[in-house]
Symmetry: D2
Subunit: 130 residues, 4 copies
């Protein structure tokens, strides 16, 4: 099997999924990956930009990921900067949109802090089928 | 919204997914989480058992996860033990089965090293609809 | 250079450190490693034991580490368990003692949450020279 | 105790270390932190720059760190890019210099892959006492 022959990989390992399910699958893997790779990273208001960019650039490499937008909540960082010089990145600070795509089906996977739940929820915000 | 009222969370954030898609979504998040949380952990033949158990116990806590089985390839560890005293956990050493479930639909998410691809592939091994 | 010939490695790369400095160096590396490897891991009261053991078993493999004791604060987990089913491991929950040793000099590296500082501090609790 | 009163923290928790030992201690923590935070991150030739910058900017925030230089080996990435589209960051790809300082004593902590050892070694490259 040729590594570059993606059709054969899809046929052998992914024929049990619809294109819609595949887009959801790949986007969800990348959201779980993002959270557990970067949580704990030291961060401050001045380092947030480069961390956001590195998260976006690295997670975009993953299979089926078309675009990703990461926002580290600046209001939380401003408050923390008053008291400490930096903190560890937590899920509560993150608002992330991952756009995954398979065979023209695009899914938007979202993670954001939901005040009523008091934790960062990962969910599928929308799925576009052309 | 009450955090314990899972029906309301499902209605508000997950009504766009079928039960099958939800099982895939939650299992995929946990597989991505597992990989990026634990890759890099120091491991040897003698520490592999406790690491396997901790990975299973922690990832089983995640939403929708019913069961998980982690195997760190002992053959790779034996070879490494001959040369070094320990190594860092890599994806190539892992064989993982995550059983996710939503509304009686069960998905088996798998990660294993595929020699022909020369990397650890994450895919959906089976989906059982009763 | 033979990997098993630790004396040669010490001579080539560590001749600029005293035994005391070397014990501090190795213990400090392992404390930084521990924090950033495991922060973010899903944890609950029932999974805390296996996580503590896996952290101890894996970090003990690192160079110069003789013993390590990890305690995940059960009081924090009890409170969290009332509200959520699990949480992500944070530094505030951890009390860690790493015993490093080089040439009979033993250092005890500690991390614990200091209320007055409102963060988990890493410091050298004691150094025993025989 | 005032969080901003670093002298009091130093007196209470670090009076058992010389300035030289303290510089070694803080630099070593940050090197262990760096390795275990970022190992496993997806990386390719085109994403290496932003990842290097984010690692530098985040680890520089840690106590006692004055400067840090991270190089992800481009030769390894070029070879990998021929076969795969990306890989997971490993210690073998990293060459890192962390400059820590305490009371005018500067330590240079280094991690680089040593071919004779076949693994990435962390050591103290130099200590400058003025």
């Amino acid at each position: 099997m040729d590594i570059n022959d993606k059709d054969k990989v899809n046929e052998k390992y992914f024929s049990n999924l619809s294109s819609r399910e595949r887009a959801i699958f790949e986007g969800a893997i990348s959201m779980g990956a993002l959270f557990h790779q970067f949580i704990g990273t030291p961060v401050s208001l001045k380092s947030a930009d480069s961390l956001q960019k590195a998260i976006e650039d690295s997670i975009e490499l993953q299979p089926g990921i078309k675009k990703i937008k990461v926002l580290i909540n600046p209001h939380i960082l401003v408050e923390l900067d008053n008291e400490f010089e930096y903190t560890s990145l937590t899920g509560d600070m993150l608002d992330v949109k991952i756009h995954s795509e398979f065979q023209k089906i695009r899914a938007l996977i979202r993670m954001k802090f939901i005040p009523e739940l008091n934790y960062p929820l990962m969910y599928v915000e929308s799925i576009n089928e052309e």
